[in-house]
C-alpha cells in the first residue's frame, strides 16, 4: 500500500455543547494473521490495534481493534464540543508506527 492517509469528516458547524458526528477512515490492510501466501506460509498479522479521539485533551473514544475490523478501518461516533478547539486522532499500528491527525473545530 502507499502512504497511510487518515481521513476525517466533521460537520460544518455546531453550537457550544452540541454533540457532533465524527467520521474517520484510514487506509490500512488490517492483515489478520489468518491468511496464507501462495507458498502456503502464514502472512503475519499487522493491524491497527488501537484508535483514540480526543477533543481539547479530553478523551472522546478509545477503541481496542481486533483483526476482524475491515481493511481501511472506518469509525463513526459522537463527540461533545463544549468550546472551539482541536480534535486529535491517533491510530496505533502493530508495527510500532503511530499515525496522528488533527482537526480544528469552531463552535458558534
Amino acid at each position: 500500500m502507499t502512504d497511510v492517509r487518515p481521513r476525517i469528516r466533521l460537520p460544518r458547524s455546531a453550537s457550544a455543547g452540541d454533540s457532533i458526528t465524527v467520521k474517520t477512515l484510514i487506509n490500512h490492510d488490517m492483515e489478520t494473521g489468518q491468511r496464507r501466501n501462495s507458498a502456503g506460509e502464514t502472512i503475519p498479522r499487522e493491524i491497527i490495534h488501537r484508535f483514540t479521539c480526543e477533543f481539547n485533551g479530553v478523551m472522546v473514544i478509545d477503541v481496542a481493534m481486533e483483526p476482524a475490523i475491515s481493511a481501511n478501518p472506518y469509525m463513526e461516533f459522537e463527540a461533545v464540543v463544549p468550546e472551539s478547539g482541536e480534535f486529535v486522532f491517533t491510530w496505533y499500528d502493530d508495527n510500532g508506527e503511530v499515525y496522528t491527525a488533527t482537526e480544528a473545530f469552531e463552535v458558534s
Binding site: 500500500m1 502507499t2 502512504d3 492517509r5 481521513r7 469528516r9 467520521k23 477512515l25 487506509n27 490492510d29 475491515s70 481493511a71 481501511n72 472506518y74
Partner: protein, 289 residues
Amino acid sequence: MQHLKPARSLALASACVAALWSGAALADPDLTADLVIDGELHIVTRAPSDDIITPNLPERYSGWLFRSEDTRAMEMDDFENPAMIAVEAGADLWTTVDGTAGQSCQDCHGDAEESMRGVRAMMPHVNEDGVLWSMENYVNNCRTERMGAEAWRWSGDEMTSMTSFLSLQSRGMPVAVQIDGPAAPYWEQGREMYYTRYGQLELSCANCHEDSTGQMIRADHLSQGQISGFPTYRLKNAGIVSIHNRFRGCIRDTRAETFAEGSDEFRALELYVASRGMGLGIEGVSVRP
C-alpha cells in the same frame, strides 16, 4: 434438456442450492433507486437501449442498481466510499515529479479538473496512430515517452489510484465512446468476443449478463456487466479493481485461460462493453461487493 457435461451440471446444482438457501431473503434489484452522491450529484443509472448496440437489452442498467442497500449507500457518500482513498493518492501522484524529464502530470496538463474532464467517458479511444488505447495506455505513454519514467503495472496501486482520480473528473458524465470510423473494427472484435463461449463451462459474456440479468448466480444478482462504474472499490478485495482485472475474473470463472490485462483482446472487449453502457453516468469510483 440436453445432456449436461459433469462440470456444468455441478456448477448449476451449486448455484440452485445457493439460490434456495438465501435467495428468498435477498431483495430484488431496486430499479427505482436514485444514485445521488453527497445529496448533490445525480448519476444516471438507467439509460435507453437502442437497436444497434444493445438490441437484446430492454434498458441499460448500472450495476449499482443490483447491489444491496448497504453497498449502494456506501457509494452515495464520498466520505464513506473507501475508493476515495485511491482518488486522493491519485491526486498526489498527479502533482508528483517523476522520471528523467523532471515533470509531473500537472506540469503539462495543468488542473485535472479542467484538462481531464470527460476523458474517462470516452475511453477506450483510438489514438493518433489508429490503435485502440485504454486510459492506462495513455497514462503509461505519458510516463515513458514524455516523463522518462517507468510504466506502471496495469492493476498496480499507482495505476489504479491514477485511473480512479482521472475517472472522478468525468463523474456524472454519460458514457460516450466512439464506435465508428477507426474504432469500428475494434468494436466488431469486441462484440465477437462478447458472444463467444469461453472455457470449460462454455459461457459467453452474454450468457450471464444479457440472457440472465437479474437472476441469481449463487447468492448474488447478475448485473448487465456494465463498466461505467469502474474503477470500482470491491469489498471482497478491499481495494480498487480495474476493468481488465474484472474481465480476467469473469473469464477465469468460465474455467478458461484468460487474456492478459492490457491485451488487444481486452481493449477491444472494453470498447464494446463500454458502448453497451452508452448514456449511463460515469460513477467515477463505485463500490461493489
